[in-house]
């Protein structure tokens, strides 16, 4: 190892990771929203199947070359494509979009891309309105699973099966799972993220720990030791309930196991499950033991994150997209480590069961005049956005990494190693469910965090309000 520079070491690691990711990805089970017997999804896309394929191919023939995408060549097609996304100036993904689009411009000068970025929350309204009114741009950003599923069910999304054939080797089938409905592919994934347990190692050292504890008992002991030293174990933005779910979902998953959780999230099983109630009680006992910053309830996630980086909390559980921001802070970066949440009930759950998965997705409108070209363009663009996003530390690549990726920060690489060992993924609850159910769910999560309801009340309420 002496002969190797740090950089070369990193390259080696990454090559290994890439190979592993590919190999592992093929075998691991990932929850696919629309596939299988998922109640809501399959019903909806089932209804649309026949119409969907006919519809899309006829749309395509109106555009370029009669449905057979092999005849479509991006090199000599002259056209303008319109794209909407959420990579606004302040979004951490902005740079990867800009870099990818610049590259596309030089490589395909014949295709002009008009793109526009909207603020996240208002975009959700905007794209839904546009879909309802058949006013979609050719290419649009979407979240996978339930969000895209609604559009697919109403036959508004172009099926990408033909275009995907060319990219099979670069984009593992399993990564397409969250945008696959009834066996058909409708989305190009960009980066993927999981929930990570970030730790400030300086504070852990003060409590006598050199590593993030690997078992749940040790972990709880560590929290108590931190409290002894007047260090707040967890930072969590209570005013943004999705931040609470980052903790709660990990606790539930490590108590009841990934398969049971996927069944519930995707509507294959009801919430009426006493094991969930027990897991929620476990989480609530952490709240009641004072492991969470009480002031977090009125703070936004950005403020909590800033507090974590300023050394106010020992742990911060949140999406791995934070790696980029942590890496950019030279003071803080050496202190931070990332790990997986420990297993609570080893009969049901095991290490390698993670929360997260590919959600950021690009899709093509069925109404696009150049749908076949847009489909190919979207794959090419998605590959590049993924590439640059990965280099920036915005998340892990859904595509097989290419080129020199040695500049990826060490934290993101650690996340990559966690993903290498992944056995199953459960997508974030609020992405997996449709908007109404997701908000009902978030509301009950907030009630749990505020100790308004206990585990039993949580499952009772959800069983009653979600049908």
């Amino acid at each position: 190892m002496i002969g190797l520079s740090k950089k070369e070491e990193n390259i080696m690691k990454l090559k290994k990771f890439a190979a592993l990711l590919l190999a592992g990805a093929m075998t691991l089970s990932m929850a696919a929203c629309g596939t299988g017997g998922s109640g809501d999804g399959s019903g909806a896309s089932g209804a649309g199947t026949g119409g969907s394929s006919n519809n899309t191919s006829s749309e395509a023939s109106g555009g370029a070359s009669g449905g057979s995408s092999n005849a479509v060549s991006m090199e000599n097609a002259e056209c303008t494509l319109e794209m909407w996304c959420i990579a606004t100036e302040s979004d951490s993904n902005r740079h990867s979009y800009e870099a990818a689009i610049d590259e596309m411009k030089t490589e395909y000068p014949n295709i002009t891309l008009d793109w526009e970025a909207f603020e996240n929350q208002s975009y959700k309204t905007k794209i839904k309105a546009a879909v309802a009114a058949d006013e979609m741009p050719d290419i649009f950003f979407t979240w996978s699973c339930a969000f895209l599923g609604d559009f697919v069910a109403s036959n508004k999304v172009y099926c990408l099966d033909d275009a995907y054939q060319e990219y099979k080797s670069e984009l593992p089938e399993v990564m397409m799972g969250n945008s696959t409905y009834d066996g058909k592919h409708y989305g190009v994934p960009l980066t993927m993220n999981i929930v990570g347990l970030f730790a400030n190692m300086d504070l852990l050292k003060e409590a006598g720990y050199d590593e993030i504890p690997g078992t749940y008992d040790e972990f709880i002991k560590c929290c108590d030791a931190l409290k002894e030293k007047d260090i707040i174990p967890f930072g969590c933005a209570g005013s943004e309930t999705w931040c609470v779910t980052e903790y709660l979902e990990s606790v539930i998953e490590k108590s009841i196991g990934a398969d049971a959780m996927n069944d519930i999230f995707l509507g294959r099983a009801t919430w009426n499950n006493p094991e969930v109630a027990a897991a929620v009680d476990t989480f609530q006992s952490m709240v009641n033991n004072g492991y969470f910053d009480p002031n977090g309830i009125s703070l936004s996630n950005d403020e909590v994150k800033a507090n974590f980086m300023a050394g106010k909390y020992a742990f911060y559980m949140n999406g791995t997209w934070n790696c980029a921001d942590f890496a950019n802070d030279a003071n803080f970066f050496p202190k931070v480590k990332v790990a997986e949440f420990p297993v609570i009930n080893s009969d049901k759950a095991e290490l390698g069961q993670l929360i997260g998965g590919p959600s950021d997705t690009l899709a093509v409108a069925a109404s696009s005049e150049n749908a076949a070209i847009a489909a190919k363009y979207t794959f090419e663009l998605g590959k590049r956005i993924c590439h640059y996003g990965y280099l920036d530390g915005c998340g892990l690549p859904a595509w097989t990494p290419y080129g020199d990726t040695s500049s990826v920060n060490a934290l993101t690489q650690d996340v990559a190693n966690i993903c290498n060992a992944a056995k199953a993924y459960v997508l974030f609850g609020d992405t997996a469910m449709n908007a109404d159910e997701a908000n009902t769910y978030l509301d009950y999560v907030a009630q749990v965090y505020g100790c308004k309801v206990d585990g039993q009340g949580f499952i009772d309420g959800l069983t009653k309000d979600i049908r």
């Binding site: 929350q121 959700k124 309204t125 839904k128 309105a129 879909v131 309802a132 009114a133 609604d150 209570g238 005013s239 009480p294 002031n295 977090g296 309830i297 009125s298 703070l299 507090n307 908007a435 109404d436 908000n439 009902t440 509301d443 009950y444 907030a446 009630q447 505020g450 308004k452 309420g461 009653k464 309000d465």
Partner: protein, 297 residues
């Protein structure tokens, strides 16, 4: 000379712009809201929406995660606080200023100043004032007094913390209305009362306040309907949290629409809000009328 038809056509033409705006933007949407509230409408596309009768109303009042009762109670509470804290404070200031004090104009101008500031600015500013770590309120009263969870994060303090900026902004508004009333009370009447040996307090109580009753009525209507409509400040400060402690119907409506895509349910809340506003307007008018009758006896 000019026949009736001509007159009515002219009247109609004069009314036309106002009628188009009024019916197009107010009346028609209210009728549409009423219709939508009976449907399970989940996207902007209204084709194929499902008729569910009073289903939305039923769900609204029974759901464990929507908490409409809480929102209703909060807006009532805000209305009560406005009438019984904000208006007396405004009246007090108006009466004090009405005594003809040096610097009257300067005070008047300062009090009215917050009215002109955008509510979003005020919300953002007070967010900073309440900040649990670096806010000015902690620096002023000492952080020891801060409730657990922070000023805006504690369920029992949050509603008060939302009310105080409203108070801060609108006291000037009501004060100016009342001040105008106080000023229009005839000086002769006041002087006469004073010569008869009435104290300042008695003059205010027996002469000034009764004579500005019409303005008080306007203030009460504005304060109450204003509380029922309140949105901006709460949206900016807490967005209804923590745990719906500051939820009001309008914030609930917006989250129904744009977080849950429940357009039918959003319309249901809108319909109930309109009903509530009208109910209050009628009650206020009745209360003031009744007083008039007693006054005349």
């Amino acid at each position: 000379m000019k026949n009736k038809t001509y007159k009515y056509v002219t009247v109609f033409l004069f009314l036309l712009p106002a009628l188009i705006l009024f019916i197009g933007v107010l009346i028609a949407p209210i009728v549409m809201s009423l219709v939508y509230s009976l449907f399970d409408l989940r996207s902007v596309s209204t084709e194929g929406m499902e008729f569910i009768g009073l289903g939305n109303y039923k769900e609204l009042f029974t759901s464990g995660s929507i908490s409409f009762w809480k929102a209703l109670g909060n807006s009532m509470l805000l209305a009560v606080l406005s009438v019984f804290i904000q208006l007396p404070l405004a009246l007090g200031l108006a009466l004090m200023l009405g005594k003809g004090i040096k610097g009257e104009r300067a005070f008047l101008s300062i009090y009215f100043l917050p009215v002109l500031i955008s509510t979003v600015v005020i919300g953002q500013l007070w967010r900073k004032i309440y900040n649990p770590d670096y806010g000015i309120l902690n620096a002023v009263v000492g952080s020891g007094l801060m409730p657990q969870g922070g000023w805006l994060g504690n369920e029992s303090s949050a509603l008060w913390c939302v009310f105080i900026p409203t108070l801060w902004q609108y006291v000037g508004y009501h004060m100016l209305l009342m001040y105008a009333g106080v000023r229009s009370v005839s000086p002769e009447l006041r002087e006469a009362a004073k010569l008869d040996g009435a104290t300042d307090g008695q003059v205010d109580w027996y002469i000034v306040i009764p004579s500005i009753k019409p303005i008080l009525r306007v203030s009460v209507i504005f304060a109450i309907t204003g509380s029922l409509k309140s949105f901006d400040l709460i949206y900016v400060l807490t967005n209804g949290g923590p745990y719906h402690a500051t939820e009001v119907p309008s914030t609930l409506m917006i989250s129904m629409l744009f977080e849950r895509n429940r357009y039918g349910m959003g319309s249901t809340i809108a319909v109930l809000m309109i009903a509530l506003c009208f109910a209050f307007a009628i009650i206020i008018n009745a209360v003031f009328k009744e007083r008039d009758i007693y006054g005349k006896k």
